[in-house]
Structure formats: C-alpha cells, structure tokens
Symmetry: C3
Subunit: 264 residues, 3 copies
Amino acid sequence: MDRPDLTDAISRLRRASPLIHNITNYVVMNTTANALLAIGASPAMVHAEEEVAEFVPLAGALVVNIGTLSPSWLSAMDRAAGAAAEAGVPWVLDPVAVGATPYRTAAAVSLSRRRPAVIRGNASEILALAGDPEAVPKGPDSTSDSSAAREAARRLARDLETVVAVTGEVDYVTDGARMVAIANGHRLLTRVTGMGCTATALVGAFLGAGLSAYEAATAGLAALGVAAEAAALRASGPGSFQVALMDALHGLDDEALARRARLS
Amino acid sequence: MDRPDLTDAISRLRRASPLIHNITNYVVMNTTANALLAIGASPAMVHAEEEVAEFVPLAGALVVNIGTLSPSWLSAMDRAAGAAAEAGVPWVLDPVAVGATPYRTAAAVSLSRRRPAVIRGNASEILALAGDPEAVPKGPDSTSDSSAAREAARRLARDLETVVAVTGEVDYVTDGARMVAIANGHRLLTRVTGMGCTATALVGAFLGAGLSAYEAATAGLAALGVAAEAAALRASGPGSFQVALMDALHGLDDEALARRARLS
Amino acid sequence: MDRPDLTDAISRLRRASPLIHNITNYVVMNTTANALLAIGASPAMVHAEEEVAEFVPLAGALVVNIGTLSPSWLSAMDRAAGAAAEAGVPWVLDPVAVGATPYRTAAAVSLSRRRPAVIRGNASEILALAGDPEAVPKGPDSTSDSSAAREAARRLARDLETVVAVTGEVDYVTDGARMVAIANGHRLLTRVTGMGCTATALVGAFLGAGLSAYEAATAGLAALGVAAEAAALRASGPGSFQVALMDALHGLDDEALARRARLS
C-alpha cells in the first residue's frame, strides 16, 4: 500500500505546533512563514552562520531553500545540515532552479548529499538534480510535466536514500520503492510566486510534527492542493487566490484533508 | 495618571508624514513598510553600512529589528544607533527571538544599551533581555504570558532609562515608573507573521511624529490593536485578516482610536 | 506621433512569457514577482555575483533596482549589466532614492551609464539622477510633482541615449526626442510599498516580450495605471487595493488596455 495514512496529520501538527527553522529565499520568507502559521506551525527564519548551528536543535524540522543563493547563505545551509544530522532534526531541501547555473547546480547537488529527509522540486529541478540531460531549466518555473520526472525522482530517492517529491499538475512522492500521486491543486498556484516553496515549507511542518518523511511529503503537498482548490472557489485572480489560500490552510482539518485529497 | 493622552496622535502622524528609517528583517520588510504607509508615515528600508549614518539624520525615527541577523547588518545597526544619538533621532529596538542563541542575545543586549527610546518585545523576549532565568525562547513566538514579563519590563525600563513595551494578549508599556495596559487586539494577530514587528514599526511612526516615547509606544500598540479588532470583523482567516488590517490602519482616525482603545 | 502602438502588447507578452531576471530590493521581491506572474511573465530573483553573469543570457530582460543596496549586490548589478550588454538582453534601471546619500547616488549614476534600455524613477529620483539642484530626496517617496521632472527626463534620455520614465500623478516617457504622457493610476498606489518598483518590473516584462524600449516603458506604466483604476473600484483601503491590483493585472487584455489607457 503506497498511500500513507494521513488520518490525523493536521491535528497532530496543530497539537505539536512545531518550531520550523527556515533558511529560505528572500522572495518567499514572508509568505512561507504565513503558510506555516496558517497550518499551525511556528516559523523562524534564521540564516547567520554565527547562530544556525545553535538554532537547529531548538526546531522540530529544518527547511533549506536555495532560491536566492549566495556564499554566506550556502555556508549557513551546510552548517545547518550538519547540525540537523547531529541533533536528529529532519530537514527538507528545495533545490530552486537547480540546473540554471553551474553555481546553483553545485550547491543543490552538494546539499542533496547531506541526507535531507525530503527533497521537493518541480519536474525541471528534479530532472536536473538527477543529472538528466533533458532537464531544461527556465528560472524557478518548470518547463517539463511532472510525470516526465517520475522515474528520475524514484532513482534519485533510491540513490540518496531520501524521499523525493515532484510537484506539478499532479504531484508525485516516492521513497524509491513506494510512489503516491496527489491529484489536487489549481492552475492559479502557478500564477503566485513561491507556491513550490510553500509546498516545501508545509512538508517541513509535517516533518516537525513527527510524521515520517513519506507521510510528511504527502501530507504537505495534499494540504496545499486541497487548500488551493478551496481558495480558487473564492478567488477572482492570483491576488485574491493567495489571500484565500492562507485562510483555507488555516481552516483545513483532518476530515477535509481525508475527504478531498486525491491520492493514488 | 499613567494613561498618556492620545487625542490627536493619528492626526499628528498624518500631518507630519515622517520618514521612518527601518533596519529590519527580511521577513517583514514589505509588510511593515505597508503598515507604515497605511498609518500615514513614509518608510525607507536602508541597511548598508556605507550609507546608514547618512540616512538616519533624514529620518523622523529609526526602527531597528534583529529578526534576520547577520554580522554586516549588526554593524549597520550599531552605526545607525550612533548616528541617531548624534542627530537626536529617536529609535525603537525590536529584539526578535533574543535568548534563542548566544549570538542573538549578545546583539540584543548590546543594542539595548545604545539608548533606544523604546524597546518592544513579547514576554519571552523581554524576560530574556532582562536576564530572567525563566525565559524560554521558542523562535520569534512567545512561550510566556505578557503579564509574566511586566515586572521585568519595569526593571529593564528603569535600568536602561528607556520605555519598554511588552506585547501579548494584553500589552504593557512602562517607563520604569508609570505603566499602562492596552487590552486591544485579536488572536489572529498570532497567526500572521511579523505582527510584533509591525507593532514596533508603528511605535517608530509615532516617535517620528514627535510623540514622547511613552506616548508613542502606547499609541503604536493601541493603533494596531484597534485596527486588528476592526479587521477581524471582516476576516475569514489569517490571509483576509492581514488585508483587512492594512485597510483598517489606513482608515483609523483620532476619534476611533480614542473611542476604542482600552487603556488602564 | 509620440504615442506608441500598444495594440497587441499584452497578448505578445502572454505568448512570449519571458523569463525576467530581477536583481531587486528585499522589500518588493515578493510583490514584483507576483506582478510579473500576474501580467504573464516568468520572474527569477537571482543576485549572487557567482551566477548572475550566467543567468542573464537565459532571460528576456533584466531588472536592476537599487532599493536595498549593499556592496555585494552592487557588484552583482554591475556584472549583470555587463552580461546583458554582451548577450543583447535589454535591461531597466530603478534608481530608488538616488540623491538620499552619496553612496546611493554614486551607485545610481554609475549604473545609469551602463546603457540601460529604460530608467524608471519618480520625480525626485529623476531630478537627482540628472544632477538637478532642486532634487529634494525623502527616502523612496517623491517630494516633487512628475511634471517638474519632465525636462530633466528628456535631457537625461538624450545624454544617456536611453528611455526615461518619470512616474507620478501623470507619468511621462521620453526617449529624448518623443514624449508621451500617461494619465492613469490612482492615489492608493502611493499607499502601497513598491508600486514604483512594480512599474519598473512591468516595463521589464514588456522589454522581455520584444517591445522597443519606448513602447515597453509606456506599456508597463499604462498597464499598471489601468489595473490600478480597476483595483480601486474594489478596494476599501491599501490592503484590499494591493490584492485587487494583482487580480486586475492578471485580468488585463489588449482590448482593455487600448480602451482605458489615457496617452497623450
């Protein structure tokens, strides 16, 4: 059975209210912090090399996102990954726009080998991270369909002994052996910046609540997809969609997730 | 009489439209700039060591917030505090998550001794800054009730000859002798990131309009609390609450503040 | 005829969906990315010196905005401008708050000489960049009327062989010879942070879609102004205005732009 049990995922998260340590990009810091608060977690954005190693052990999970990369941030990510391993704090990697430049690719590949519990990317990113020659990066937006990256994701998960999540019109989560598809979401998700980063942050929230990597990745993507569908009903464009999405994440409960998540 | 007179606080602010210089964290730059514009001030976010000292004297007040700290930002904060003292520009300190790491604590303690007009924090932060052993930091969110930090706030205000504001379900403002409680606000404030930072920025706006530190701290917290109550009436979650809050800050006037602020 | 033909500007942009490389300020990264997505472009925020030169050639246009300046960002901007010249990628410069400090002025003047296709600023900024002694900077907000900067804009455009756009109650676009006025917009644009930066980003989007500099500058400002008018009808303050503005940019089409843009 490849479909993880998410019966009490939301209520476990709300009870735990885990502190989620984010080293993420400037573009989405505000919006992913708000998504984490809306779903019931407690976000902190801390990036200084001087303090990340001491902050990581306070957290339930760590989110590392290379969107707006620079050398000092990369050092901090590296240090945080080490502290996470030492303290047993699970972490999730978002290799934003990997493949676009050699600098970015080297950073993403190096971090992916530091034992993240989950890697979340779009099809182009997962193909690039898996070294697929068909990967055609175009900034943070994908040029490929998520199904095209399914096998690359499975291989990557096996090679790195991690869980890989590919997001797109349909999302896929795999631990190398099992694979689950999540057919939720809405096309307005592609017209608001940082929705992939938000998916990654939500995966971090469920990791912090104590779910396994495979469960947490599925729960994070399903929660975002289900909330997006509810938000789209109240939206007249990407602006009102983003507002309604935060309301919908806040209003989500176990029952709604179970009823509306389309896993297969 | 510990209740400051806020009769014309809003109209004074709108008439002055003070330039507020912010050295603040990445997470809230956009939202605190918008809150400052909504209430009637003119925000600038300037952090380079190369220019802060020349920018501070142009401003009516300075806001220093250590949320996403790093060495070059800390140097800029230090330099800006010096320039503020020299130019007679009042400033407000937000010691975000002080107590969470030694680096952060050292930074906050050092800045708190540079004569800020106001220090604004949640209960955990004020307890940590006052050196209270009961302070239990959990990232930027407080683990203590604001009333638990009242005496620490009073002592800190006396020791540092400043005004200290503790925010929480009830807010407290003290100059070491006087103390006023502000019983406004809404629980959705805890589900949107940076609302404490927004409180601090609003205090900066009133400082920039020429109010005394004690008045400005009270006015900033009361304005946010009253606006939050109005916003909650139109909100169906944290997303729509944040939008309505900006509208409410913009719509606030002297009469509404006087009628709705619950000071005691 | 100074009025450029914008008949199919929006549909060209949507068909091209150009990747827009932004090196911009922390305050607006999220909101300008969202504006670019709403209008139909694909934004990327990339600032590391280590990768900007390799990223620029992937993009349809580059946006350089000095809002929150620091030395490493300035180096990256410089490097990106060089890469843009080499790769034939048009770029737009936003000299935020030029004139406020010597550091900022030197940076803006230096970048303005690197052959941007368009420079977009408010009246104070254009006056300061043109070396006008009447420029009175007040942070990022203008202290002068846009018409006061019309002649400075024309002179600057001629001297630098570029297109200069001055925004304000009425916007002006000039290539040194031609000049067009755009009488769209709404006063709430001045109560939301980063609306000037959004104008600049939209100019970048139209540059990336292959419009000439003069057309792109006019289209970007007209699109924002027309969308702002639509948004204001649904807004009850700056918060709801900003949300409605994103919806309106997303809903804009050739027909609406042609009918509502007031060019002369």
